[in-house]
């Protein structure tokens, strides 16, 4: 707007009292605010999980180190995994989905705003309950009761016999609560995508982000329930004298593994598929081309979602299944590599022939492509069951899944932060700081997780609080720990950039990236009602049509 000197008296509204603002935020049902609440909550728990990782790495910097006791170390890796998956990654994913899906499909809010708020607070409370465990009463192994059974809590370690304190109970209850919250959010997202699209936006014209979050929601709905069921069974065992996993009474430890991994594997796709969504939105805009092969991208996503429910026992190759059973899961796991590879090729083809601008979001997405490629390939190695008989339960697996979750998912989440920060806050982030974050974090990431593959290959198992010298592991552990330092500093730069830019960044305007999806057609940040009037669309890139009225997309697809 042109800055005409105002001759009209400007009414300056007073800033509302802090209590009122807090009350607004606590009682909000606005998807944008809930999205931001999820994201801030997740950043806090990302910090907690990061501190736990730092403690782990300091303890492992050299053999026979005594930085923490074995009891504390076991709590650290359990809490690190549980925190990062359930209270950092999932809330980040849900937060962005909450914020973006209604905007990108031209809706005013999600289908069930109050369910949305309820789900958030349930999840939030779950995290608080989990961390309360550090302050809880005494267990058998000393002060504090934080869970120390590993994030997948294998039976019978979690039975009353072997975990007499309450650490397992905190794990169960915190995740039961956040699990119900997740299911509420998933139902909400699915219903929003199906029922709240603006006129003209058929399913085939939705942005890929909407499709992928819809798939993610479906996966949560189908996969969270097995975890809930298994945890209820564990509660029955621990408190009602049940025998689901009580091996003395004929119960089966392997049954827990099956139930857990029927949840556990789709869970990583719950995290990865929204990451793909971010890449699918950012890469086209910064390459200045539409996404290559939209229909196949949708089909591949649905295929991944579907197949991901059939691969779970590749986490159990060492358990002693029959050779037929093992072979089946090799087949399904390798099969899922095909649609995943297709997606990588489609993203590559989107960049191909483009006019690529290397702003911070794009840097993170290019790094994502490189790192996700490697992660996928180490995944194929692990899918070859005999290879997995060596590598399972070793630092090779730890390296692989961190490559996926940090190198793949977190990188695209960083990209998403930078890409949509202008929309959410109305300000531009500082590009120089963004690049510092990127290079520092990438350097640290590779220092840590590239070299982490080596101890795995050299025989180092995971979840050990110390290790023997003379096995060739020492130097690699040192390098791994050093890389963590870089990542920690880079994350601080990132958080500082967000804060600084929110307060003093340049005003961003509604469309700083010359984007093509509906969220860029409204103000930054959007008003509570999202759009002055509901948009009507005719193609997958409504803003391209507006900006290029003589050659709109709907002439071509």
């Amino acid at each position: 707007m042109s800055a005409a000197r105002a001759t009209v008296a400007v009414v300056r509204s007073e800033r509302a009292p802090l209590v009122d603002t807090l009350h607004e935020w606590v009682t909000t049902v606005d998807h944008k605010r809930l999205g931001i609440l999820y994201i801030i909550y997740a950043l806090l728990f990302l910090a907690f999980g990061g501190i736990e990782a730092i403690i782990i790495r300091i303890q492992l910097i050299r053999p026979h180190n005594t930085f923490v006791s074995p009891q504390v170390f076991n709590r650290m890796f359990t809490m690190h995994g549980t925190t990062m998956i359930f209270f950092a990654a999932m809330p980040l994913v849900f937060g962005f989905a909450n914020y973006l899906v209604p905007l990108m499909i031209g809706a005013r809010d999600t289908a069930f705003p109050r369910l949305n708020a309820f789900s958030f607070w349930l999840t939030a409370f779950g995290g608080l309950l989990l961390y309360f465990s550090f302050l809880g009463g005494n267990g058998l192994y000393g002060a504090g009761n934080a869970p120390d059974v590993g994030w997948f809590a294998y039976a019978p370690l979690t039975s009353r016999t072997f975990s007499p304190g309450h650490s397992t109970d905190f794990w169960i209850l915190a995740l039961l609560l956040s699990g119900i919250g997740s299911m509420g959010t998933a139902i909400n997202i699915a219903a929003t995508v199906l029922c709240m699209r603006c006129p003209g936006m058929t399913l085939g014209k939705m942005p890929l982000l909407a499709w992928l979050n819809f798939t993610m929601a479906g996966l949560v709905i189908l996969s969270m329930s097995p975890l809930t069921a298994a945890q209820l069974m564990l509660l029955v065992d621990r408190y009602l004298g049940g025998h689901f996993f009580d091996v003395q009474a004929g119960g089966s430890a392997v049954l827990w593994m099956h139930f857990f991994w029927i949840f556990g594997h789709p869970e990583v796709y719950v995290l990865a598929i929204p990451a793909f969504a971010f890449a699918s939105e950012i890469i086209p805009v910064f390459s200045r081309k539409p996404i290559f092969g939209y229909p196949v991208m949708v089909a591949a996503t649905l295929a991944i979602g579907f197949i991901s429910m059939s691969v779970w026992a590749h986490h159990m190759f060492t358990v002693g299944m029959t050779s037929a059973g093992n072979t089946f899961f090799v087949l399904s796991t390798m099969a899922i590599a095909v649609p995943t590879g297709i997606k990588i090729f489609n993203w590559l083809a989107t960049i191909w022939g483009g006019k690529v601008q290397y702003r911070t979001p794009m840097l993170f997405c290019v790094a994502f492509l490189f790192q996700f490629l490697i992660a996928g390939l180490t995944g194929i190695m692990l899918a070859a069951a005999p290879f997995d008989w060596q590598l399972s339960g070793s630092y090779f697996v730890v390296a692989h899944f961190h490559y996926v979750i940090v190198g793949g998912i977190l990188f695209t989440i960083f990209g998403a932060f930078y890409y949509w920060f202008p929309k959410m806050s109305g300000r531009m982030y500082n590009e120089a700081l963004g690049k510092v974050h990127f290079w520092l974090f990438t350097a640290g990431f590779h220092l840590t997780f590239d070299f982490m593959h080596v101890p795995g290959v050299l025989g180092m198992p995971r979840r050990i609080y110390t290790y023997e010298p003379g096995r060739g592991w020492d130097i690699w552990n040192l390098v791994i720990t050093i890389g963590v330092l870089f990542q920690a500093v880079a994350t601080l730069v990132f958080l500082g950039n967000l804060l600084w830019s929110k307060l003093w960044g340049k005003v961003a305007g509604s469309d700083p990236w010359d984007g093509w999806t509906l969220e860029w057609s409204t103000a930054s940040p959007p008003p509570a009602y999202n759009f002055p009037s509901l948009p009507e669309v005719r193609s997958r890139r409504p803003l391209w049509d507006l900006k290029h009225p003589e050659d709109p997309d709907w002439h071509y697809e």
Binding site: P156, G341, I380, T442, H446, D514, K547
Partner: protein, 367 residues
């Protein structure tokens, strides 16, 4: 499908200078690609000479580990090739199609897809996956479906928190933590078949140079086999988190010549050596709670919760590898096991110094 449009004029508040960190990006990508694919190469290269590590999966010394190593090399080759190809394409795209400084306004050609290309990159991965699946299935079958030949040694391995119990089925020998097996030659194979059980939580038996790992799960017997072709000591450790001292549940496999092994077996099957000089230690041992957990054949101690101590001095380590088996360590261990293994299930027995001396002296006679 070419478009020759003038893009909408952009607001000036956003700096649209084209960034080109492509060279740096390229270097970073190459720098990090190197370590991953060097590890396997280095690991393999060194196995012939100076060992990189005594637990290197690429230095196999037994058929299952060989089979796995062979399959792994195939997988690494194929994935390595895919990596190189896709990486080159990525680098090319990232460098070639960056927005050049001074490029005019206007969007590039808006390409929506290409059926032929997409078909190609669907079919080729399917073929690759098929090849990998077939090779993998073969390896699985050859390892899992092996049948013990008549001369095979059979050992029952029972996992405990935090030690290993071994029963040699045909010889009535019970020992702990250090497994002795005969060397096996390809001509007359004498593999060792292990039946895996657990007395409490899940464990996993992993000696990387000999075989992949197999879990020990209570109420779920498993089995695995090894046929080491070179004598020596092979190291490993428990690889399934089993509780507080999971990290110190170490494994040692002593591969001996047939003669040495037979002699060892013979010696292990006998009762404890009797010696009058340590009668006091023996009395102390038998009258304190030691006998509730430990067995010393030929004495009144028949406890099974802890390791069999009948031939304790034939072992090089104590506490499942937590410490070397020296008199000083042994005395310290008996005094307070948590000095070596905090959280292990053997309690400090609260013995006096003289009791400790006596018991240690007694233990020292258990060859």
């Amino acid at each position: 499908m070419t478009t020759a449009l003038i893009s909408a004029t952009r607001a000036a508040e956003v700096d649209r200078r084209a960034q080109s960190p492509d060279r740096a990006l390229t270097m970073r990508i190459l720098k990090s690609a190197v370590p991953i694919f060097c590890t396997a190469a280095a690991a393999r290269a060194n196995s012939a000479g100076e060992p990189l590590s005594p637990t290197n999966i690429f230095a196999p010394a037994s058929t299952p580990a060989d089979t796995i190593s062979g399959l792994s090399l195939l997988v690494l080759t194929i994935t390595g090739a895919m990596f190189v190809i896709v990486l080159c394409l990525l680098l090319w795209a990232v460098v070639k199609f960056r927005e050049k400084a001074g490029a005019g306004p206007g969007e590039p050609a808006q390409v929506y897809g290409s059926t032929q290309v997409e078909l190609a990159w669907t079919v080729i991965p399917v073929l690759i996956v098929t090849i990998l699946l077939l090779a993998t299935a073969r390896a699985i079958a050859s390892i899992q479906n092996a049948i013990p030949p008549p001369g095979a040694v059979e050992v029952s391995v029972i996992g405990h928190q935090y030690w290993w119990e071994y029963h040699y089925k045909k010889s009535n020998v019970v020992t702990a933590n250090e497994l002795h097996v005969p060397v096996s030659s390809p001509v007359h194979p004498t593999p060792t078949f292990l039946s895996l059980f657990s007395a409490d939580t899940d464990h996993s038996f992993w000696v990387p140079r000999l075989a992949g790992k197999t879990d020990l799960i209570p109420n779920h017997p498993n089995s695995m086999w090894i046929d080491p072709r070179e004598t020596g000591v092979y190291l490993g450790q428990c690889s399934q988190y089993c509780g507080v001292q999971h990290a110190k549940m170490l494994l040692r496999v002593y591969v001996q010549t047939r003669d040495e092994f037979d002699r060892w077996l013979e010696q292990q099957s006998g009762p404890a050596a009797a010696s009058d000089s340590t009668i006091e230690g023996r009395r102390t041992f038998e009258s304190t709670a030691c006998v509730n957990c430990h067995t010393i054949r030929g004495s009144t101690a028949t406890g099974t919760f802890g390791p069999d101590l009948t031939h304790l001095m034939s072992r090089e380590t104590i506490g499942a590898g937590a410490a070397l088996n020296t008199p000083a360590n042994l005395r310290r261990w008996i005094q307070d096991p948590s000095a070596f293994k905090p959280g292990c299930l053997m309690p400090a027995m609260g013995l006096s110094d003289s009791q400790l001396d006596a018991i240690t002296a007694y233990m020292e006679t258990l060859r």
